[in-house]
Assembly symmetry: D2
Homo-oligomer: 435 residues x 4
């Protein structure tokens, strides 16, 4: 949907004013970069056009303030339900033009009227990416507890409840226009001996087969692995090897989802991306950044070169197979920033890596690799990475009706103050579900 | 205080019955071990006497069920206030005879009548170890928020509030008979640039100087470092080097506290223990175990040899300086076990390492080290570690009026069921403070 | 072959004397342990019989002194060729009765007369386990260099040379009675961009298909993965996921080999063991221990509980499938100890874990797991692990004709001094191949 | 010394030709960047002038091809002695104008005629940075072995030999015009029990006191810590905390040296830089990059943002104290690249980070920090980091008489081919000392 046709939470006139103030400088920087790229034989317009094709889904749970097991410090004007979350997501897309879909999490975002939700989303120009199930928490009134596991639980009743919830998620997603279910379970053990490690995975596979059986033919099932937390000794789906083996067991609609923060220290994540692409099992991403564990920090904030290297693999895979199209989603926890600002900046960071990867001279890279010219192969990547493609991203936003400087435009709009009035805080409430 | 003189939450007759059932086997195992040790030239009675001197403090926050940022699955009969926590702590000490003190956490355990609390504790035969301050959470009605730091905050008003809270903790601790304050702050940054890293530590030191100045002459101030969480890019007091430098700046009453789960992957923790002991700054421990981060698992459950090696350093330090006496505390989160059972087992695990370290033939070890006989030096430690000192620990408990098998006795007592009736669950409540 | 029938490098009379001195104490300890186990309902004789079935292969390269990239400090009397290596291996088996096979490494151990080597081995009562190829070093006179890779090299000529070497290893192994080839390659990249990550694995698979095609029908091909070193950015076969995917691609004779030191920090290795066993791809082990990387330290010297947990998985897999029989090999670098002493101690450490795992009450464990009795499930493992099975191991050695205390008997024998005279050091030489 | 006055290993006419070909593009890019910076209120000329002040020392051992414990694959034309090493270092400085000093390593670079070496260096326009001692290897004819340690050895004779070597290094360095000694020892233990951890550090301090006592008044003593390798269980000087405590014990001339690859996984290195600067003990750096351990990869090749963040701390420290001037040295192992190319590229990478850090708007950063505007504080750093300062670096080289594209000019010069003829390879030789 065209930006101008959509309902825009922020007055489009104010955005236009903002752009007008910055446009001269944006154009001057764009021209300067255009010349630099031309001297390297690259056409900036191709890159800008490519940048405009980029899209990453926003997680509905990301628009609330996150926290840790120690504390959550709420922000102002946090959304209190899925409709308010959609409004915040619409702001993000309005200003960045890079986030046309939203990834929902059930039961947090459950609605009795999916048609209405879908209509509201369409009004904002938004669609729905993969839906997420939640069997890592107990909900009020829930019959069985997930204290001792969900899809892997010893109790058949617990497993049945968890399977049924996932199937319900598929049904809800179907009504909303989603095409994929992401399954992340925290199931695991805190003590050696707590689980029969193999038995737990056997039960997981049994449960997943039931869920897989309920998938519509055009859906995908994403398996998300994670090294640790909430289980601290052994997590059933802990690494890409397990994810891959399970996806293989389940069938062609099952794929692996890579969250950048779910790996052991020192892991080469871009190589995992290459492996899954090679073996046909790369389903999608949860983008974020981290230094220690599943820190859920803003994408590209800690190790931006790693993000680029991931996109370098994706560009390589796309070149090999133009039909290759994994799902891109953000998954972050915003504990000390305005979630809308972090999500806008993060979407742009991911887009930046996407454009930088497109800048890599793949012919030269291949030639250096074939000649074992290690230094020049490395420099070929570095040259692309070092290029400040900011002007390209800004121009892509301007051309698509977004903001030259999304955070600046957002702050100028007064949106946060306005919703803070409309959405009074509820004592102790965690609007996102996750503290 | 003698066990029999204290108020015992569990009927001592039931414990006696339990012991009577097991005593024959315990004595037979003890005799068997006694012979084995005698053949190695060791007197079991010395070790049993030593085992009886062992004591580790129980954390008041540990008797409630813990959780993660994703969920908390409450247990039955969780204590709802500091008095009920003391009752649970009394069970642990009654059955293990190894946990004569409790470490309190304020404001969670704040009471208007410390004298009453102290009296109740004494009735149970319990005293108080280090008190803990909390400036990592906002409390209802609190004037300043700790969202952007406490002792390191940019805002002088925030820092003043955090300092005042710590001084209040000292006052409360003084009334209860504590002799130390443990300061752990989660202060740090989630983003490069968020903090001026040096400025934050300068403010920390300023704040700590004010707290240090309020210490009674016979108190110690324990600085607890931690690599990450809740801050995920940079934690102000992240490692022992920073802790050591700060303790040195502050003065002789400031010491470092080592939590076994607060280090970078692959860190040699026993060497940190040796370093702090050498430089006179080892204040105490928070015992627990971990595989990934600050997992707060039961002591000795993941890497029992590491726990032994820590005690091997402590035994070495004690031999060099008989006055060396760091504080021993447990600090664990019990997410899937009965907290009382975990704390009893953990106290015994720490005691086990203490006795195994005493078994090390230090003369032989030194001789092998001096001769560069690496293999035999290593085997000297291993021989002590491999010895199953369980019969010594059981006998120590029996002689001190505890239970031969504390978990067995506890389960037989029906204590949990009884308190579950007396202490109905509050919806959504986290009795411990930490989810 | 019976111990007494074999040629014994150490005079068997001296071993008998040694045993005679220790036997009374060994028997007394055995009796004491027997009683303790009987009180837990376990029959020590079953465990001793089981211990006697244990066997682990010795690596031929392990009997020389190892080193690091910084230095190698040679020991006395290092073996200078495969025949002297076999002599040292024979000592290890003579005294421990736990290492009846040797794993060779080519071209280090290449011989023109495999029949003679086989005969000499049989004279010692030794056979041959998996053979190892070496394409991580250039050999004098070699046509192509492996500087830029071997099985993954860009150059077809390099790959052909590496494949041919592996096929030659199979032929040599066949002549010696081996039944498996272990392929470890250091191939990888030191820089992002150096490799097309996917292209490198495609070439690896092509090369491996050629090697696989040359396997005799009763052979296995073991793929050994390793996170890093000698490549420091990306190693082609870096993790069990890649190893598993490749073994699956290659066919049923291809399996995965797990070296305990080849994983990312914090990895749960026993879970990888469980996964590979579940999916039918666990081929074997390289046992050692480590704290940081591929440290190649003595088995069980750093984290003995982890070694036990690995064997706990193996016991579980054996119970599920009595035909399950992965290859057990040691792979260590002895930089500061006498290699024979380290290998004897290490074989015993692995055997210890094997016996402790057999001590686990699997019925009780399953019952606790099914009841979600986490604490007792954990304690069930711990009880087995804590049992000092040393007397069982000593008795197993005595009954099999070995030494009560292998290191003691070895030292008393004067073997090292004797070979030091027979085997003068060569300046600068690394007898093992690896510095 | 001015570039044109110095002896230049590469014909300066060829460099001039090279520059002439590129100069138009370099100037055009410079103009484009100048405009971009001007629109952000920054003057490019200030930055270019600053870039010209940058200097980092080249390690003499870095101009030979490195290797691992598994293999070393020599390159062509490796320098065979310190004079040939100086020639290679002169190439690096000639083309980059950023490496005016060399850091020597004894005994590898020992010369009987330091005056001659100094004169040759001056002829190249080179001086000497810190000298390095080596007590981690045995040298032919050496009396005592370092197999069991050097400065920490049990044997007094070993320690005395190691101390004497360090003092000899000081004397040699004095003759050469160095002003600092860097002491790195690999001393440590491979097994728990091998060392009395505290005893080893006590002996280290005793040895270092003797070395410290031999320092000229205007010299510094740099203590270099490292987590592991060649010791794999416990390294005596393993972390910055130990380094700091030792430097404090020794006195004001003792400082800490930070090698970027010597830390535990996940360590925040820039915070260590901040801490050491704050406490007055930051002596200098060994720059390189790494993903796993002490990988010694090219600076900025793996995590360029981290390198920037280190320089961000250095810029902060310089602003606080204009006299702050730690030593900058490269320390890398070039296993698969031409060492001269890697060292040139790496010097430029470090210079890039230096200039990017100077681009940080420190006033804005401070304001955002004080306002707890976390997102904009982070973006302030990111904006500087994202700026491609390549044109500034190229212009700085051109103005200083270097090459627009050092690697291109070097390749065009034919230097490697020329020295390959002059310097035939010695079989098996490791020219650098370190394999």
């Amino acid at each position: 949907m065209n930006a101008s046709a959509a309902t825009t939470p922020i007055d489009s006139g104010r955005v236009a004013e903002h752009n007008a103030r910055l446009e001269t400088d944006v154009r001057a920087d764009y021209e300067a970069l255009s010349g630099m790229l031309a001297r390297r034989g690259r056409d900036i317009e191709q890159l800008t056009a490519l940048a405009q094709t980029f899209a990453v889904a926003v997680p509905s749970w990301g628009v609330g303030t996150g926290g840790t097991r120690f504390a959550r410090f709420p922000g102002r004007g946090e959304p209190r339900n899925v409709f308010e979350k959609m409004e915040d997501c619409a702001v993000i897309h309005q200003l960045t033009r890079a986030t046309p879909t939203v990834s929902l999490h059930f039961p947090w975002d459950r609605t009795d009227d999916p048609a209405a939700l879908r209509e509201i989303a369409q009004g904002y120009g938004l669609g729905f990416d993969a839906v997420n199930s939640n069997t890592f928490q107990d909900q009020p009134g829930q019959e069985q507890t997930y204290k001792h596991g969900s899809l892997t639980a010893q109790s058949g009743a617990v497993r049945a409840q968890a399977v049924a919830h996932n199937i319900e998620c598929i049904e809800l997603g179907r009504a909303l226009g989603s095409k994929a279910l992401t399954v992340w379970v925290g199931d695991g053990a805190n003590f050696p001996g707590q689980h029969n490690l193999r038995g737990a995975l056997e039960r997981y596979l049994d449960s997943m087969r039931d869920i897989y059986g309920a998938l519509p033919a055009d859906w995908q099932l994403f398996i998300e692995h994670k090294l640790f937390e909430p289980a601290f000794y052994a997590t059933t789906i802990a690494d890409w090897g397990t994810s891959f083996a399970c996806a293989t067991e389940l069938g062609p609609q099952a794929k692996c989802l890579v969250d950048l923060g779910h790996h052991a220290p020192n892991t080469n994540i871009e190589m995992i991306v290459a492996r899954l692409a090679q073996f046909g099992k790369l389903g999608g991403f949860h983008f974020n950044d981290s230094k220690y564990g599943d820190d859920d920090l803003d994408s590209g904030s800690i190790n931006p070169f790693q993000l680029f290297l991931v996109f370098n693999e994706l560009a390589d895979a796309s070149q090999r197979d133009p039909a290759f199209r994994p799902a891109y989603m953000l998954d972050q926890s915003h504990n000390v920033t305005d979630p809308i600002e972090s999500l806008m900046s993060s979407a742009i960071e991911v887009q930046r890596a996407f454009v930088q990867a497109a800048l890599v001279d793949r012919g030269a890279l291949r030639a250096h690799q074939e000649a074992n010219d290690v230094l020049q192969a490395a420099q070929t990547l570095k040259q692309a990475y070092r290029t400040d493609v900011g002007p390209i991203l800004a121009m892509a936003r301007l051309r698509a009706g977004g903001a030259a400087d999304p955070v600046g435009a957002y702050r100028a709009s007064g949106y946060r103050t306005e919703v803070a009035e409309r959405r009074p805080a509820r004592a102790g409430a965690s609007s996102s579900g996750i503290v």
